[in-house]
């Protein structure tokens, strides 16, 4: 169980709103085109699916992992 600190870069405000309202995404801070938040995952496959899901939202530029903390 990992908590990933992620940074999502968006182009439009609507994309930003959608990312922030995702159920597995805990929003930390939002400023202009950068959204910082925490996502809880179990392993690489889960991350891959979440990553591709977020990237498929129109208006999202990139998803970057900034840090991670073990859940134990």
């Amino acid at each position: 169980m990992f908590y990933l600190g992620v940074q999502v870069e968006v182009e439009t405000k609507e994309a930003g709103d959608e990312v922030a309202s995702l159920p597995f995404f805990s929003l930390t801070r939002r400023k202009d085109n950068i959204i910082l938040g925490v996502i809880e995952i179990k392993d690489l496959t889960e991350w891959r699916s979440i990553e591709s899901f977020i990237e498929s939202i129109p208006g999202v530029v990139s998803v970057t992992i900034l840090s991670s903390v073990s859940g134990e």
């Binding site: 990933l4 600190g5 995952i41 392993d43 998803v63 970057t64 992992i65 900034l66 840090s67 073990s70």
Partner: protein, 162 residues
């Protein structure tokens, strides 16, 4: 409890530690380095390796060394070099990236190790802004990268010096 499982692995010692054989001879297991560590990163060996009972080590994955350098001055016997004050001069070990498991090498955007490295942008560099690479000359072996890596087991591991 793995009481009799003797692991002949090498342990990551606190910063300023002498060479492993010297360290084992000089350390009197007083535990002062553990007491003074503000992050409680230092662990004293017990069941996991009874032959090394009481010797301090750091489990980078669990809690890395944050290079505050408070432990070398308190060591009474010099098992930790008390003159070491610069965090850049620490040589606890060298980090190595496993390119097969590192997510950045699999196509994701992950900058966790790079962003959290205390020797920022010198010991860990992002080539082409995508792939982390360890610069062995500058790596001190603190283990922060190993601690923040989202991969289980960690794709970047600190190996103590031979």
């Amino acid at each position: 409890m793995p009481i009799f499982k003797l692991k002949f692995q090498r342990y990551l010692r606190p910063p300023g530690a002498l060479k492993e054989e010297e360290f084992i001879k000089k350390c009197i297991r007083c535990g002062k380095c553990q007491q003074v560590c503000p992050y409680n990163s230092i662990i004293l060996t017990s069941w996991e390796n009874p032959f090394q009972l009481g010797l301090p080590y750091i489990d980078a994955r669990k809690k890395p060394c944050y290079l505050c350098m408070k432990c070398p001055p308190v060591c009474p016997t010099g098992a930790l070099d008390r003159n070491l004050k610069d965090k850049e001069k620490v040589r606890m070990g060298i980090a190595k990236i496993d390119k097969n498991t590192c997510w950045a090498y699999q196509g994701s955007f992950c900058r966790a190790c790079y962003l959290n490295c205390p020797i920022f942008d010198k010991a860990l560099k992002m080539t082409d802004e995508l792939l982390p690479v360890v610069v062995e000359e500058y790596c001190v072996g603190c283990g922060v990268c190993e601690h923040v890596c989202p991969v289980e087991p960690s794709a970047i591991v600190v190996y103590p010096p031979k």
